[in-house]
Amino acid sequence: MSTETTAAPARPKSEKESLFSVKNRKLIYDPLNDNNPITVQVLGICSALAVTVQMKPSIVMALAVVVVTAFSNLIISIIRNIIPNRIRIIVQLTVVAAMVIIVDQFLKAFVYDVSKQLSVFVGLIITNCIVMGRLEAYAMANKPWPSFLDGIGNGLGYGLILVIVSIVRELLGSGSLMGYRIIPESVYAMGYFNNSLIIMPPMALIIVGIIIWVQRSRNRKLIETN
């Protein structure tokens, strides 16, 4: 399904590049659409199914992934020249795991309720292919600042899809958003029911599918030629 898992080539040396040059900005918004980790590269689907029943956990999960991708990209990029090649995957994994544990500890300390809802899925960010994918494909070959931006961009691209899916699922499944009731009681009185099917994980997959369909029909670049 995936068209390309971009292994960005090492960029030519161009000193004096501004922090938010066109190229650097592209690192942020490219993963939101043209190179979205979920809808284009089809990575990280598993957690997208599990945490999107409600909007609040999805947002927290998205932020957690942004922090993990951004900082592990940054760290790996800083030490990329001294990482022994033979153990680079182990090193990447260790850095990711450490970042995830730190994020998890913070969630447990400051947003305990959400952290209980997310339960194992924060820990499972370690196994999210997006993180390792970006480290191997980008951070190992690029400077810290672009790597950091690339991490933020990919985290946001993942988070964007998570939030869209959770809006649909919480609205139709529970009649609320962020825990606040949106569909008024009077509608229920008229015989409206929450759709329990949409709370089931497979429905998240179908919603992701619809997002991919809409995105591809609007974005010519993503249409495969063969």
Binding site: N81, I82, I83, P84, N85, R86, I87, I90, V91, T94, V95, A98, I101, I102, Q105, F106, K108, A109, F110, Y112, D113
Partner: protein, 238 residues
């Protein structure tokens, strides 16, 4: 030294492990107090739920102090123990383990006395075994120390849709109004009945279908834990 040499690889990995270990320890130690506070608040919340007080996280502590007027620690003879440990800090798991190692005489039982709308309620923490891990909960008894006013349950890893249903309001509400003593004053506890309890059964509630082990766990946890409080109840009753 080349970065891909064996020596560099060993040096790098040992260095990395040390740095990361320090990072994680610092985070864990510095955030520990916040996490402990969250766990305390959750416990308070669960205790309040058993007397139908639904608290917001922010006001839990306030409501807890307002409603829970007295905390008592009991020994096996039903006498109040003062001193060493507060009822709130008793670790039920450790107390249950005492029975396994032959120290059952030394078991301590926490009891929370709640005052709501001018009436007294007795809240008893319970803990038992589910199918996959521990289950626990809080049972509140009315002033007659016989009628169950409310119950709230929690679990570590019961199957969603089956054992995990003990956490739902539907299951918990069934306990309201049940009695733990029969007409002649004999302790009979409350049973979780497979296939459904009769509507007039004062000592039985419907089991969760498909969750036999968890349901039996609830029955066992009721009988054992409530049984330990009988001496105290007998003393309190005229």
């Amino acid at each position: 030294m080349h970065k891909d040499s064996n020596k560099a690889t060993f040096l790098f990995s040992s260095g990395m492990v040390v740095v990361i270990a320090i990072m994680l320890s610092v985070t864990s130690i510095s955030l520990g107090p916040y996490q402990a506070k969250n766990i305390r608040i959750e416990k308070m919340k669960n205790i309040l739920t058993s007397v139908s007080v639904h608290a917001d996280t922010k006001e839990t502590e306030k409501l807890f102090n307002q409603f829970i007027t007295k905390q008592v620690v009991l020994n096996t003879k039903g006498e109040e123990v003062t001193g060493d440990i507060a009822a709130f800090d008793i670790d039920l798991k450790k107390e249950i383990d005492k029975a396994k190692t032959g120290n059952q005489d030394k078991q301590l039982f926490p009891l929370f006395i709640c005052n709501k709308d001018g009436k007294s309620f007795y809240i008893i923490p319970v803990r038992g075994k589910g199918l996959w891990g521990p289950i626990w909960g809080y049972i509140s008894l009315e002033g007659d120390m016989n009628t169950i006013y409310g119950a709230s349950f929690g679990h570590k890893s019961e199957t969603p849709g089956l054992g995990a249903e003990i956490e739902t309001d539907k299951f918990q509400n069934e306990f309201t109004g049940k009695k733990i003593f029969d007409g002649s004053g004999k302790f009979v506890s409350v049973k979780v009945v497979k296939g459904g309890a009769k509507p007039d059964d004062l000592h039985g509630v419907d089991a969760v279908s498909g969750a036999t082990v968890t349901s039996d766990g609830v029955t066992e946890m009721f009988k054992r834990t409530l049984g330990s409080y009988i001496p105290y109840f007998k003393k309190q009753k005229p």
